[in-house]
């Protein structure tokens, strides 16, 4: 889950901020409107035993949301991402920047300016 103390800069892509399973699930949710649990297990290739607990955590953390679909004789969850990938990236970036400014103050801001200038 995206916790600043668990950000791993040496990892690749989204796994810097999410665990590998969370990242795979979020990618499915960002690229699909609504997904059922079997959809997610099929598209990620991750077994239900790992997916189910991770989905609970993603919902609790607010990155995913789910509705109970009672159509027909069965009940099932329909999952979707709470925010688009861009908005989530925005939220994570803000968190990281806030943390850097809180910790390093001026030095962090000067580096942002240098970085901005280079861009």
């Amino acid at each position: 889950m995206v916790k600043l103390d668990r950000i791993n800069l040496s990892n690749e892509g989204l796994t810097k901020f999410f665990s590998p399973i969370e990242a795979q699930i979020m990618e499915v949710l960002w690229t699909n409107q609504e997904s059922t649990t079997p959809d997610i297990t099929e598209k990620t290739g991750i077994p239900l035993s790992s997916v189910a607990g991770t989905l609970d955590r993603l919902v609790k953390a607010g990155y995913a949301k789910r509705a109970v679909d009672k159509s027909g004789n069965r009940v099932r969850y329909l999952y979707s991402a709470t925010e688009s990938m861009d908005n989530t990236a925005n939220t994570i970036t803000k968190k990281v920047l806030d943390s850097l400014v809180d910790t390093f103050g001026k030095v962090a801001i000067e580096n942002f300016h240098t970085y901005h200038g280079k861009k």
Binding site: T37, L48, V51, A52, G53, L55, D56, R66, V68, K70, N73, R74, V75, R76, Y77
Partner: protein, 225 residues
């Protein structure tokens, strides 16, 4: 002033000098014999029965030792008596309130809010039991008091016959829930680990197999493994 070595000396002196020594020996031997039988037995009913019988003999050994004691103010006996009273009260009262804690902890809702047949199915098997569901993708089912809890993940995962098998399994636990605290209390009183849980699960599966079908039980088990 309490001294453990002094208490041990008291036990040795009183027991060896007591007329009850042969009885203590017989009870201890029978307890050991029944524990051995428990370890060898394969059938769940025999395993549970022998384990309970062994524990009862252990309690009778403790009781006989206490009655053989001539020394006054034995602190170890007083502590053990207080431990037995306290644990009995807690173990017997807990099931009466614990299901309420579970309802609150899981934010459980009556299953009739989303589907009717599971409650009707349970009503046919036992009186006064209520089925709840709770919000979790992790497949889970358990019973406490006269309540059955199913996660929504379980409702998603199982087909109707498998879900009936799960419900029947939990109904068996409800039907026998007055015995489970006794088993726990026996383990606490004899300081033995409660080994009966696995056997109880097997017996609940046997019941579910009779009520629904063995295929449904096996299929539900396979999905959860």
């Amino acid at each position: 002033m309490f001294s453990i070595t002094q208490e041990i000396d008291c036990y040795i002196t009183c027991i060896t000098g007591s007329d009850l020594l042969p009885l203590i020996g017989i009870q201890a031997f029978l307890a050991l014999l029944l524990f051995t039988f428990y370890l060898k037995a394969r059938k769940p009913v025999l395993r549970i029965s022998s384990f309970i019988a062994a524990q009862l003999f252990m309690i009778s050994v403790i009781g006989t030792i206490v009655s053989a004691m001539q020394c006054s103010q034995m602190l170890t006996i007083e502590i053990y008596t207080a431990y037995v009273i306290l644990s009995t009260v807690i173990i017997m009262l807990l099931p009466r309130v614990y299901y309420k804690i579970l309802i609150r902890r899981h934010g459980a809702q009556p299953i009739t809010d989303i589907m009717d047949w599971p409650q009707a199915f349970v009503n046919n098997l036992t009186e006064g039991a209520k089925v709840y569901y709770y919000d979790s993708a992790v497949p889970g089912a358990f019973a406490s008091g006269k309540s059955i809890f199913l996660s929504l993940g379980m409702l998603e995962l199982m087909d109707d016959s498998e879900l009936k098998a799960v419900l029947a399994h939990e109904v068996w636990h409800i039907r026998h829930n007055n015995k489970t605290p006794v088993l726990r209390q026996l383990s606490l009183m004899t300081f033995t680990k409660n080994h009966s849980e696995d056997e109880l699960e097997v017996l609940a599966d046997v019941f579910a197999g009779k009520i629904v079908s063995e295929t449904a039980v096996e299929s539900a088990r396979a999905k959860l493994e």
